[in-house]
């Protein structure tokens, strides 16, 4: 469960998000939409704990980030899978090593997760590219690698910021399908996108909630555009 109540945040003293309130129950598939520059990425950054609210209450999986110690924030971050807008893969290590990074960081030994990793890599369709470096693969492959990295830890929440922004429509549909599959496994999936086509193409595949941000305010929520 993600809960926001009167959350305000901004940069350099200027408010970007103003009095945001929303409830996203566990297992929800949701879109966060709105024109560019309205604060979607800022809100996502707050949900994956890169930023903390100036005021208001934010609660993620039962925890209030503003009240947590550093090690508790780290634990909470490990329960959130992030698909970054720019993929954010480390370019000097292979696709496979990028995907395994959250497990390594969590202290797991490579021999304990090697088989699961290979299955995951195949699931996202990167079986042939697992030993390539990120600069050697296409944008669509990078995005699928980013999705695999986001779910490798089996997180409760998956936050995807413009996951189809840098790929062609066909690849966008494929990525959407992967995220819907993850939602069917019980994960909460929140996708920030300005791509209305992507939202429309989810119809019939998943019951999605839609949150709309405009001028820093969450002005509409429901299941229709």
């Amino acid at each position: 469960m993600i809960s926001l109540s009167g959350v305000t945040f901004g940069y350099d003293g200027r408010e970007t998000l103003s009095e945001i309130s929303a409830e996203i129950p566990q297992g929800t598939f949701a879109f966060l939409t709105g024109p560019s520059g309205t604060g979607k990425t800022t809100l996502m950054k707050m949900l994956y704990l890169e930023h903390f609210p100036w005021s208001g209450q934010l609660e993620i999986l039962g925890f209030k980030p503003n009240t947590l110690y550093e090690d508790e924030i780290v634990d909470l971050r490990r329960r959130i899978g992030i698909v970054f807008q720019d993929f954010a893969l480390l370019e000097h290590i292979t696709v496979m090593e990028n995907i395994a990074l959250p497990l390594r960081i969590a202290g797991k030994r490579s021999e304990d997760y090697r088989e699961d990793m290979e299955q995951l890599v195949k699931w996202v369709g990167l079986g042939q590219r697992m030993h390539a470096l990120p600069p050697q693969i296409s944008a669509g492959e990078k995005q699928r690698a980013a999705i695999a990295r986001a779910v490798v830890n089996s997180p409760d929440v998956i936050l995807a910021d413009e996951p189809t922004g840098n790929v062609d429509p066909e690849m966008g549909t494929r990525i959407l399908r992967l995220l819907i599959e993850l939602n069917r496994l019980g994960k909460t999936v929140l996708i920030a996108t300005h791509d209305l086509h992507l939202i429309r193409s989810s119809k019939g595949q998943v019951s999605a909630r839609i949150y709309r941000l405009a001028d820093g305010k969450l002005t509409q929520s429901g299941s229709e555009l």
Binding site: A88, L90, H92, I93, L101, I105
Partner: protein, 294 residues
């Protein structure tokens, strides 16, 4: 140590290449090279001071001046006094050949010592705290006029002070090199972190603790410090080994022969030093930088 340098069994999260890597390696190499030169200078100056001190510590001379016909009797009386003076051990009159050798640089070879009114020298070995100089000189003045006792204090002390000062300067330079290395490596660590800001951000957001990130960066910087320090120290030893041999009075030379115990010790300790400095500097820089990122 290995656990400290390897945060886990996977590939490095810090890129192994890039300009910041070369800054660290080059800085450590330059500091390693300079440290070897300064240490060699310190060792040479220390050797010089010790040699001078040892050479002159137990020796004094008595110069005897008299007319040619009287010189031998004056020397005999002076020797007699010296041999009965407490604080004085062996007494030896320098031979004509030794006198001629001493004078040769100024007066040339084949000096007719027996006809020239030259002062003659008696070498005296001091024992314990040495003789009571004023009392000894008074006895010499009375019994062998023209005999002058000289324990070389007047010129020996400033020379030894100068050599010791030189040694101190070399050690001070070594300390400055170490401090500069610490500063440069801290800056290199900051540059490395700044150059990998995106890596830090991503790794942190996917669940890495600050300690994990710091360890990864510090391990990488320390290894670069070691590699650079080793290369610089090896170059320093080779450069000193290539200097021409100083010949007699070798304590004056900066030469360091590759393969000797001293050079091996320097080759071990200088890279370890640059590694330790890199570790410390990186730790401070990385922790400070992490507190500013995200």
């Amino acid at each position: 140590m290995i656990g400290l340098l390897c945060p886990d069994d996977g590939p490095p999260i810090v890129p192994t290449r890039g300009w910041s890597a070369w800054i660290t390696i080059t800085t450590a190499a330059a500091m390693g090279f300079l440290a070897i030169i300064c240490l060699a200078a310190g060792l040479a100056a220390g050797r010089l001071a010790a040699t001078w001190e040892a050479d002159f510590e137990g020796l004094a001379t008595v110069s005897v001046q008299a007319e040619v016909g009287e010189i031998e009797s004056r020397i005999a009386r002076a020797v007699e006094i010296l041999e009965t003076t407490p604080g004085i051990g062996r007494v030896r009159v320098l031979t004509d050949a030794e006198h001629a050798e001493l004078m040769a640089p100024w007066l040339g070879e084949s000096l007719p010592m027996d006809v020239l009114p030259m002062p003659r020298l008696i070498e005296v070995e001091r024992r314990g705290d040495g003789p009571d100089v004023p009392r000894l000189q008074a006895r010499l003045d009375q019994t062998a006029p023209g005999a002058l006792y000289d324990d070389h204090q007047v010129w020996r002390a400033p020379l030894i002070d100068a050599a010791q000062g030189l040694s101190l300067l070399a050690w001070a330079a070594t300390t400055l090199v170490i401090l500069t290395a610490a500063g440069m490596l801290a800056l290199a660590a900051q540059a490395s972190l700044a150059g990998n800001r995106d890596v830090v951000r991503v790794v942190r957001l996917i669940g890495a603790t600050d300690a994990y990130i710091a360890q990864a960066f510090i391990a990488r910087i320390a290894m670069r410090g070691f590699a650079g320090g080793l290369a610089g120290a090896a170059l320093g030893v080779l450069a000193l080994g290539a200097l021409p041999a100083p010949g007699p009075g070798a304590e004056l030379g900066l030469t360091l022969t590759p393969g000797t115990l001293t050079s091996l010790l320097l080759l071990i300790f200088v890279p370890l030093g640059t590694t330790a400095i890199a570790l410390g500097a990186a730790w401070v820089a990385v922790r400070a930088a992490l507190s500013r990122i995200v």
